[in-house]
């Protein structure tokens, strides 16, 4: 596929390039428990962004000198598959993946109960299978579902989404060309649908008013994601109790 150039306008008649409204997500799909060998796993998709997350542990922490006698140690690893973008990504660690691994770790650290399993380690892997903007948000959403499925004590889910400024308009869930040619891209993650922000990264130049507007929109978006996350987990582990009652 030839690389698409910059389109002249990215918002035409109030609709975005892929036909979405300004405050509309790309189609979201979530699957939980897809890897058998992992403690917990999930795939989170924002349109063409696929993030796969797997959680292992709590397990004995090695190397031993990293063990904490009072707490669990959380390790996150974000990486993009070589085939995830149009240009091949060199596999392995790079500056970008180190940074994202770190911010994911710090975001997730806000919700885990580390004191429950001293001397152990929890490993969270986030693999981006296909990248089309907002990968860290999709990764974070997948990771928090995988953690819940692995039975790791946590305060609440982390829900994350991106907002941006494209053609001077504020939009929800930046995707594709908007990420490449848009003016601003901001990733936000909140604890559940509460007013607590655990991740905020911004690229570009905005005024204070715009920033506040974007933040407000991001919070709304996160609340929507949170509902979806809850729905998926409840659906997956239906007890059938309700059916019995209705009979």
């Amino acid at each position: 596929m030839a690389k698409a150039g910059k389109p002249e306008k990215m918002i035409i008649n109030g609709k975005r390039l892929d036909g979405r409204e300004l405050e509309e997500f790309r189609p979201i799909s979530i699957e939980v428990g897809i890897l058998k060998r992992a403690g917990g796993s999930a795939v989170f998709r924002f349109g063409d962004t696929y993030a796969l997350s797997a959680v292992y542990g709590p397990r004995p922490m090695h190397p031993k000198h990293l063990q904490n006698p009072q707490k669990t140690v959380l390790r996150c690893r974000y990486s993009m598959a070589p085939f995830s973008t149009q240009e091949r990504v060199r596999p392995g660690v790079n500056r970008r993946s180190v940074e994202i691994s770190k911010v994911l770790n710090e975001a997730l650290s806000n919700v885990l109960f580390f004191e429950d399993y001293p001397k152990t380690g929890i490993d969270v892997f986030v693999e981006i299978l296909q990248a089309e903007a907002s990968t860290r948000c999709a990764g974070l959403n997948a990771a928090s579902l995988a953690l819940a499925e692995a039975g790791i004590p946590m305060r609440d889910f982390i829900s994350s989404c991106s907002v941006g400024k494209v053609d001077g308009k504020i939009v929800l869930d930046v995707g594709g060309l908007e990420d490449q040619y848009g003016e601003v891209d901001m990733a936000v993650a909140t604890i559940g649908n509460e007013d607590k922000i655990v991740l905020l990264q911004l690229d570009g130049i905005v005024t204070k008013e715009e920033f506040l507007k974007m933040l407000e929109l991001a919070k709304k978006g996160c609340a929507q994601i949170y509902e979806k996350q809850k729905e998926v987990l409840k659906e997956k582990y239906k007890t059938g109790e309700l059916d019995v009652e209705s009979q």
């Binding site: 403690g39 709590p58 004995p60 919700v111 399993y117 499925e149 790791i152 889910f157 582990y237 059938g240």
Partner: protein, 228 residues
């Protein structure tokens, strides 16, 4: 003060962050935490109510040893006077010679591998778990023994009570129909040996998969009656 209210039912599925009760009349038990006036879940699992206590039986998770549990462990390592066992937990367990063997052992003449060797499977009791999570086992229990032959399955530790059933009803059913000896460790390791191991294994894995769905006993007995 506001009146307390309970927002969930017994055996209801909850997910982390879900509010279980409001008010100070309820107390958080395992798998829950309190924020100000609310009790919230910190695990995904089924609600367990007992008087004022609200707990959660998790659907997943690791085994955390506690004294008195019977566990099945695999001998991983051996030193002069201890064995180190893998008990399907983040913490390794230690079986000291004194807790394992009743007789006097002259260490200069005997190699302790004559009792238990690396790779052996042992059913033992957890004697003590220290604050720093050092787990000590003992063979000083009538059920404790070395398990020879058979096969081993691993299930989620929190589902062990479902596998055993009320007063052992479920496990007795499986033992009876499959004509197997079955030993279930609290750590989720199940050892089975006998005529129809395949059938028993199938039943156990079905319980592991469907333990949270209503009508488990009926499905298992149907599966066992149908045979292979």
């Amino acid at each position: 003060m506001d009146k307390s209210e309970l927002l969930v039912k017994e055996r209801q599925l909850v997910i982390p962050g879900e509010t279980l009760a409001r008010g100070l009349d309820f107390l958080p038990s395992s798998g829950c935490y309190r924020v100000d006036n609310e009790i919230k879940a910190k695990l995904m699992g089924l609600v367990k109510l007992k008087d004022r206590f609200i707990g959660i039986v998790p659907l997943a998770g690791v085994y955390i040893p506690k004294p008195g549990d019977g566990v099945i462990g695999l001998v991983e390592d051996m030193q002069t006077t201890i064995w180190v066992l893998d008990i399907n937990s983040p913490y390794d367990a230690i079986l000291p010679l004194g807790e394992a063997v009743g007789e006097y052992v002259d260490l200069s003449k005997t190699d302790i591998s004559v009792y238990y060797d690396i790779g052996d499977l042992i059913y033992a009791k957890v004697l003590n778990v220290s604050k720093s999570k050092q787990v000590q086992l003992t063979m000083n229990d009538y059920r404790a023994r070395k398990l020879i032959g058979g096969r081993v399955l691993t299930i989620t530790p929190s589902k062990v009570p479902r596998l055993i059933g009320k007063e052992g009803s479920m496990i007795e059913l499986i033992k009876d129909k499959s004509k197997c000896q079955i030993i279930v460790g609290q750590n989720g390791v199940v050892w089975l040996k006998g005529e129809r191991e395949g059938l028993a294994a199938k039943a156990i894995l079905t319980i592991e998969r469907e333990s949270h769905i209503v009508g488990l006993t009926d499905r298992i007995s149907e599966l066992l009656n149908k045979g292979e």
